[in-house]
């Protein structure tokens, strides 16, 4: 029993990082209507930026904050100079995805050329361990879980309780009509990329903290975990992505513990494929927005 509980504990800790990234991914897709595969490479970039700051003697959590801010700006820039113009040139949905894949490949290549292909580590940033109810967490894990919860709650309140949030949802549903109603959709889209870039940066550093060592491929595999969480939760559902993240995290840890560590990824991905086949709009999908976002035409 103790092993199960502990494994679930690992899963929750892993799930918190997945959730953090997945919330950014899902909101980005939901509101800006771009399925951004570069997101994974951006997380890798975040991890390396965090590494650079750490080497300058910064505290890891301060580094996380700085990287998140930097990634927020990079993310806005990415949309302004790349994806926005690409969409305006009439590129279809799949062309945009191919564009983001290509951008991810370029970014990953640049990282390898600049830093080298070898694995790096943040060192032990875990802090002391805390035990309660049979769970054992490190302080770092608790900080990440707390941060994830706080960001999630903030985002949820922003989307549902504020004028800006309403404008974001309006933009997501129909950009042209939203603009006609006097919403400055460009700003709303900028804001979306700013927020989700922040989450991406925070998630990238958090992932690097929880992973012992990592290399340039960090984000590309992790992207699948985030997609799994986002799809499970229903696109554009911050809470859904969070629950999805925890489910994926726990399931993959249980798979690793009771089957074989080699199957950790397989479990997460299999969940995703099953959900995609049976209920592609996710388990917690709201009826309106998601249907419009995902139906074939």
């Amino acid at each position: 029993m103790g092993v199960v509980v502990q494994t679930i504990g690992f899963g929750i800790a892993a799930g918190a990082v997945i959730s953090l990234g997945a919330v950014g991914f899902t909101v980005q897709f939901g509101i800006s209507n771009v399925l951004n595969i570069t997101y994974g490479a951006f997380m890798t970039l975040s991890a390396y930026l965090g590494y650079a700051l750490l080497n300058r003697g910064l505290d890891v959590w301060l580094a996380l904050l700085l990287v998140a801010v930097a990634m927020a700006l990079i993310s806005v820039l990415f949309n302004r100079v790349f994806l926005g113009p690409l969409q305006r040139r009439g590129a279809g949905f799949v062309s945009v995805v191919i564009g983001t894949v290509a951008a991810g490949i370029i970014l990953q290549g640049v990282i390898v050329i600049l830093v080298g292909p070898g694995a790096i580590t943040y060192g032990a940033q875990f802090g002391t361990t805390v035990s309660a109810l049979g769970f054992t967490f490190t302080v770092a894990q608790l900080i990440i879980i707390g941060m994830t919860l706080a960001l999630m709650l903030g985002l949820h309140l922003l989307l549902t309780r504020t004028r800006i949030g309403r404008a974001m949802r309006a933009t997501s549903t129909n950009r042209t009509v939203a603009r006609a109603c006097g919403i400055r959709t460009e700003r709303i889209i900028d804001l979306t990329w700013l927020l989700t870039g922040f989450l991406c940066g925070a998630a990238g550093v958090a992932l690097a903290v929880t992973t012992v060592t990592f290399d340039f491929s960090l984000g590309s595999i992790f992207l699948i975990y985030m997609i799994a969480a986002a799809v499970l939760g229903g696109i554009a559902q911050p809470y859904g992505a969070m629950i999805g993240g925890i489910v994926v995290g726990v399931a993959s840890q249980l798979g690793a513990a009771y089957w074989s560590p080699a199957y950790q990824d397989v479990v997460a991905f299999t969940i995703l494929i099953i959900v995609l086949l049976i209920r592609p709009r996710g388990l917690f999908a709201a009826a309106g927005v998601t249907r419009r976002n995902l139906s074939a035409t």
């Binding site: 799949v94 564009g99 290509a102 951008a103 490949i105 370029i106 397989v266 494929i273 086949l277 035409t297």
Partner: protein
């Protein structure tokens, strides 16, 4: 063999195998619009199949590599098995198309499939030897030696490329290619004219898959080894880049792309000296160039170096003009005897005449209603769009469906056509319960809809839009693909003539060879109705066909509807313009708030005050 000779051989074999794979992916993605981002998995499946079928029993390797199903089959058999396995796998992946999702979402699903396949193969070392992969895979030409073997392999790949091209053209060009492009341009419209989109997608992915398997088997027979690092997701990107650079949907464009992208760039950077401090530099540089090339083309030349041509336009032009140039000319300069033309147009068709005879027999059986809708319900997340509607359409009548905005008219029409599933209720068409019959099958039964917003096959010409809608065309059958022009050529000419007749009737001949996406809004609406008529329906469902039409076009469309009714066609017409309703409709159904409010003739309804009020108040 000199170093350069060897290099040339390697390059040519890579070129050939890459080309076969790129053609397959182009058929799926470029022509049919299926974003198969898991394509490289099918190449891998072919390679592994060839490997385990030629390596002999796993135990015979001295235990250095483990795999399932070891056998020592003849090479030709192994290569064909590889193609078959990948075809089956492709078809299975094609089933994901059952859920109609946005294409980028499908692409993401495929990406996940690709990466999952890699992780499974790596995790299960007993399957095909995990991440170490398989080695010592025999070369089909192992009896030859040295230079002879190398050039022999090149020749073999060359011959297979030619054979693949012949097969490919059967699918990517001609009427079948036109059908696939129609599906790519607008899936809903394809369904609405009776095309079985899911079956088509699965078929295309099986064909594309077999190409992938062939490519993988040929590649692995040459290099002798195969491991997960050879078929990472990024390899699909290399194929996609070749397609985008060369020209999506164009088989010769793909050849250009394959010459430029992998052979010149990915292989080209191999010439750069390696940097000892950073061994990843050179390969990464190759990928970076690939990424930049992709983005550059997406931005500045999205159609590629050799853009897709209109697949059948010119051929049809020669056929169609030959048969119909005279008619088109007289009509353009001639009178406006459109009513008479419709009559002659329909009665000259053998098939609908037969169909109409059936309809009349139905009428003789005493079944006066071609469509009976009973107690239909449909909710959208708490909104009761249709809430217990019951109405019917009499055989050979034009029935109007009117009501205030939000009354549920379009939803009701969607349910009748099979596009929307009802929460409850039944739809009976021609005496048969079709409530659970899928949309494309209803269209084939003769129950065809048009859309409120135009759904045209944008990359096809106006004429092709009509020709592609013809029902049960020989060219769309397996026999048609195998038999080729000899089998369907005559029928194609007949269909084209019919389409030209319709174009004349709607006075759209000038736009015959215009791509549909370039038509004006009103012309697209006319095209929509013409395309529906091309399917030879017995009940036509028109969803606000006159919205956005000029009074003249509205009148022309009305004439056509009346004439079609004279021929026995029944029409259910959703319409807001009461003048049009008054002119065309025999019976009018009034819906308010999802319910049947009144049914009767327009004159009858006019006298009823509550109808007037409901309509105006809504």
């Amino acid at each position: 063999m000199t170093g350069w000779e060897y290099y040339a051989v390697v390059l040519l074999v890579y070129f050939g195998t890459f080309l076969i794979a790129a053609w397959g992916l182009n058929l799926e993605f470029g022509v049919a619009g299926v974003p198969n981002f898991a394509y490289i998995v099918l190449v891998a499946a072919g390679a592994y199949t060839y490997a385990v079928l030629t390596l002999g029993p796993s135990s015979g390797n001295g235990g250095f590599q483990h795999y399932i199903f070891g056998a020592r089959l003849p090479f030709a058999v192994a290569i064909l098995c590889a193609a078959a396995v990948s075809a089956v796998l492709g078809a299975i992946i094609g089933i994901t198309g059952l859920k109609r999702l946005r294409p980028d979402y499908q692409a993401m699903a495929m990406l996940v499939v690709s990466i999952t396949a890699t992780t499974i193969v790596v995790a299960d070392t007993g399957l095909v030897n995990g991440s170490a992969g398989l080695a010592l895979i025999p070369n089909p030409l192992h009896r030859m030696s040295g230079s002879k073997q190398a050039w022999g392999y090149v020749a073999m790949v060359g011959v297979i490329c030619c054979l693949v091209y012949v097969v490919l053209r059967r699918f990517s060009s001609g009427p079948f290619g036109r059908l696939l492009r129609a599906m790519r341009d607008d899936e809903e419209a394809a369904l609405s004219v009776g095309k079985n989109v899911v079956a088509l997608r699965i078929a295309v992915q099986a064909i594309g898959g077999s190409f992938a398997g062939l490519s993988g088997a040929l590649l692995v027979g040459f290099i002798g080894g195969w491991s997960p690092s050879a078929w990472l997701f990024i390899e699909t990107m290399a194929l996609l880049t070749a397609i985008i650079v060369g020209g999506m949907g164009n088989d010769w464009g793909v050849v250009a792309g394959v010459i430029i992208v992998p052979t010149l760039i990915v292989q080209g950077v191999q010439f750069l000296p390696t940097v000892a401090s950073n061994p990843e530099l050179i390969p990464q540089l190759g990928w970076i160039i690939l990424g930049l090339l992709t983005i550059g083309f997406l931005f500045f030349r999205p159609a590629g170096l050799i853009p897709e041509r209109r697949p059948t336009a010119r051929r049809v032009r020669s056929d169609g003009r030959g048969a119909h140039a005279g008619d088109a000319e007289t009509d353009r300069h001639g009178s406006r005897e459109s009513d008479a033309r419709v009559l002659s147009f329909i009665s000259s068709l053998p098939e609908p005449a037969a169909r109409l005879r059936e309809v009349r027999t139905g009428a003789e059986r005493g079944d006066d209603h071609i469509l009976v809708v009973e107690d239909l319900h449909r909710d959208f997340g708490g909104v009761r769009a249709v809430d217990g509607t019951t109405f019917s359409v009499e055989r050979g009548s034009i029935t109007g469906l009117i009501g205030p905005n939000g009354a549920g008219k379009s939803t009701a029409l969607g349910i009748v056509s099979g596009f929307i599933r009802p929460s409850a209720g039944t739809v009976r068409f021609d005496g048969r319960d079709v409530t659970s019959v899928p949309q494309y099958r209803r269209a084939r039964l003769g129950l065809v809809r048009t859309f409120q917003l135009s759904h045209e096959f944008g990359s096809l010409t106006t004429l092709e839009n009509l020709v592609v809608a013809a029902p049960r065309a020989r060219s769309e059958s397996t026999l048609g693909v195998v038999g080729g022009r000899r089998y369907w050529g005559r029928e194609e000419r007949e269909i084209t003539e019919r389409a030209m007749g319709l174009l004349a009737l709607f006075q759209m001949e000038e736009k015959t060879f215009e791509r549909a996406r370039n038509l004006s809004g009103g012309q697209k609406r006319m095209l929509e109705v013409m395309r529906a008529v091309m399917t030879q329906p017995t009940l036509l469902l028109l969803d606000e066909p006159t919205a956005g039409l000029s009074p003249r076009l509205t009148h022309r469309l009305g004439d056509a509807c009346l004439a079609l009714r004279e021929e026995g066609l029944s029409i259910l017409l959703v319409e807001h313009e009461l003048e049009t309703v008054d002119r065309l409709c025999d019976t009018v159904v009034v819906m308010v708030q999802g319910k049947l409010f009144a049914q009767g003739s327009m004159a009858d309804l006019r006298t009823r005050r509550e109808v007037q009020e409901a309509y105006i108040a809504g």
